[in-house]
């Protein structure tokens, strides 16, 4: 399925400083994919350096906000969120500067 993945707040530095990635992801036999699987896909296919700055254990590291179609993934089931074709997923690191 077709997904748009966006990285912000400095996370783009982990994937060659590219912020927006239009990707085709294979969800296997099923047509849908969970966020949990997507995270592993991203870690394997997009993260070029310091993977520990993106993930901790099975999920994103503390301080990263994940948005599925402009909505906090806490509201859609976090790792269990089921993604659909053309979804937009944003990974954004919280900023502290001022």
């Amino acid at each position: 399925m077709q997904l748009t993945l966006e990285f912000g707040g400095g996370l783009e530095l982990l994937c060659d400083s590219v912020k927006v990635h239009d990707v085709k992801v294979d969800g296997g036999d099923e047509k849908k994919m969970s966020m949990k699987n997507l995270l592993h896909w991203v870690r394997t296919n997009l993260i070029k350096e310091r993977p520990e700055m993106f993930m901790k254990g099975d999920t994103v590291r503390p301080g990263i906000l994940v948005l599925v179609n402009d909505c906090d993934w806490e509201l859609s089931g976090q790792l269990e969120t089921v993604l659909e074709d053309k979804d937009v997923i944003v990974f954004i690191s919280t900023l502290h500067g001022g």
């Binding site: 912000g8 400095g10 590291r61 301080g63 948005l67 402009d70 909505c71 944003v90």
Partner: protein, 457 residues
């Protein structure tokens, strides 16, 4: 299992219903508020006839004239202005975010403004901290900011808190204000301010900016989430960039700071819908502003959750520096990774240049830093590239003639402040350059001890 799944479904359905009803309620509240404003407009017209032009809102003729463009706004009007004049806002941090926020807050007719900052104005602040000017370089930021605010509006009451916010003083300071603006620049302060606002029940307008990006939201507002609901665990310290290390386009914190003033004004005047339960994300490079829906208050939140017992006493005893592994003070860390044998001072390095010692100097800063300024004949190999470019170092050393004493050319490493240079030397030792040494304190110490005209940034 099935029954617990059912309960989860029910709970999320109920939450959605609550959310929908709350949205309806806020729509109705806004309609009521609009009608009330209209009604007041009608009433004041009739009152004016009866009491020789003196209205009931208590705004003096000068204030009516000063804020006339606010008063003429149907959705803001006399009631909004009157509420503003009785409200108070504390701005923590008079830097890139605090500067524009303070200017607009001073201008808008708030009753009282508090400014917290422990720092002094520096030349490299001025490109973004627009409240300060050259004449205040070296002066406390609170003095400079207060003077600028009073220049705009001499009627506003300004309290200067020339200190950093800490667990020892925060409760006392924050309790004197209705609304708090977080315009700080580090993670421990953000957790500290959040927790203090939760303990005291104050809405918190939180903004952040770095590089070309900004973020904004309102925490702890009428049952909405707090900072810890979103970020229960602090990020690793390596994920916390600072403007002093990563850079920031001046206007970006300017935009976010203005939006912080806007949210504070809306809350103070009870006008509109504050950005609670939502977050604004600004990407200035592509001029994209995204407003996303974020989670509500977390029942498990350690500070504001249902079962939380986070009291003022807990707050006072909480170690925010330990929690975030980051010091509250802005001074950059000074690592000490190498033994003195593998370090030389900037002065010693200067002597070796004068003596004509054969050597190679590797500057391990990122390329865009190297372009700002560099030492003569330095070879730029960023820290992250050292392993890939080992060959360049070897050939640079081979090109140099041996020293008159017969010893092979020396290898020195420099960076901005003397931390990365130590990491690089450790790496070089492992890669076989066992005599590599770093220059203590980097090019900053060169500028301080050897060449005062050498640019720093």
């Amino acid at each position: 299992m099935a029954s617990s799944d059912g309960a989860v479904d029910d709970a999320s359905r109920i939450r959605r219903e609550i959310e929908a009803l709350k949205n309806e309620r806020s729509d109705i509240d806004r309609q009521i508020s609009d009608l009330e404003t209209q009604l007041r407009g009608l009433q004041s017209k009739t009152e004016v006839v009866h009491n020789d032009g003196l209205a009931a809102h208590g705004l003096s003729p000068d204030l009516i004239y000063r804020h006339s463009r606010h008063l003429m706004l149907p959705s803001f009007g006399v009631q909004g202005q009157s509420k503003l004049s009785k409200s108070s806002v504390l701005v923590v941090g008079a830097g890139g975010l605090g500067s524009p926020a303070l200017l607009y807050l001073a201008a808008c007719g708030l009753g009282k403004i508090g400014i917290v900052d422990h720092d002094v104005v520096e030349l490299n602040n001025l490109h973004r901290q627009v409240i300060h000017s050259e004449e205040y370089i070296g002066s406390p930021k609170v003095e400079s900011a207060a003077a600028a605010c009073l220049k705009i509006n001499s009627t506003v009451l300004i309290t200067k808190h020339q200190e950093a916010l800490r667990t020892t003083n925060a409760l006392d300071i924050v309790s004197k204000y209705d609304i708090v603006i977080d315009a700080t620049d580090n993670a421990p302060s953000r957790y500290l301010i959040n927790d203090c606002c939760v303990v005291l029940g104050k809405p918190l307008v939180s903004g952040a900016a770095i590089g070309m990006e900004g973020q904004l939201t309102v925490y702890n507002y009428k049952g909405g989430p707090c900072y810890r609901c979103l970020f229960p665990l602090p990020p690793p310290t390596t994920a916390c960039q600072r403007c002093s290390d990563s850079g920031v386009l001046g206007v970006v914190p300017g935009i976010i700071g203005c939006l912080q003033a806007l949210e504070a004004i809306k809350i103070a005047s009870s006008v509109g819908e504050p950005l609670s339960g939502r977050m604004l994300l600004l990407d200035s490079l592509s001029t994209k502003i995204r407003i996303v829906k974020i989670r509500g208050r977390s029942s498990q939140c350690e500070v504001c959750g249902e079962n939380s017992f986070f009291t003022p006493q807990h707050f006072k005893g909480f170690d925010y520096e330990k929690f975030t592994q980051t010091p509250l003070s802005v001074a950059p860390v000074k690592l000490s990774l190498l033994t003195p044998d593998f370090r030389i001072t900037a002065k010693e390095y200067k002597q070796r240049i004068v003596q004509g010692e054969a050597h190679v100097l590797v500057d391990v800063r990122p390329e865009h830093h190297f372009k700002i300024v560099s030492l003569p004949n330095a070879l730029n190999i960023p820290l992250t590239m050292i392993e890939q470019r080992v060959g360049d170092i070897s050939s640079a050393l081979k090109e140099k003639q041996p020293n008159s004493s017969g010893s092979s050319p020396h290898l020195y490493v420099v960076c901005r402040r003397g931390n990365d240079s130590q990491r690089a030397v450790q790496l070089l030792h492992k890669l076989g350059f066992v005599a590599a040494r770093d220059i203590i304190g980097g090019i900053e110490s060169w500028a301080r001890e050897v060449d005062p005209k050498f640019p720093t940034y």
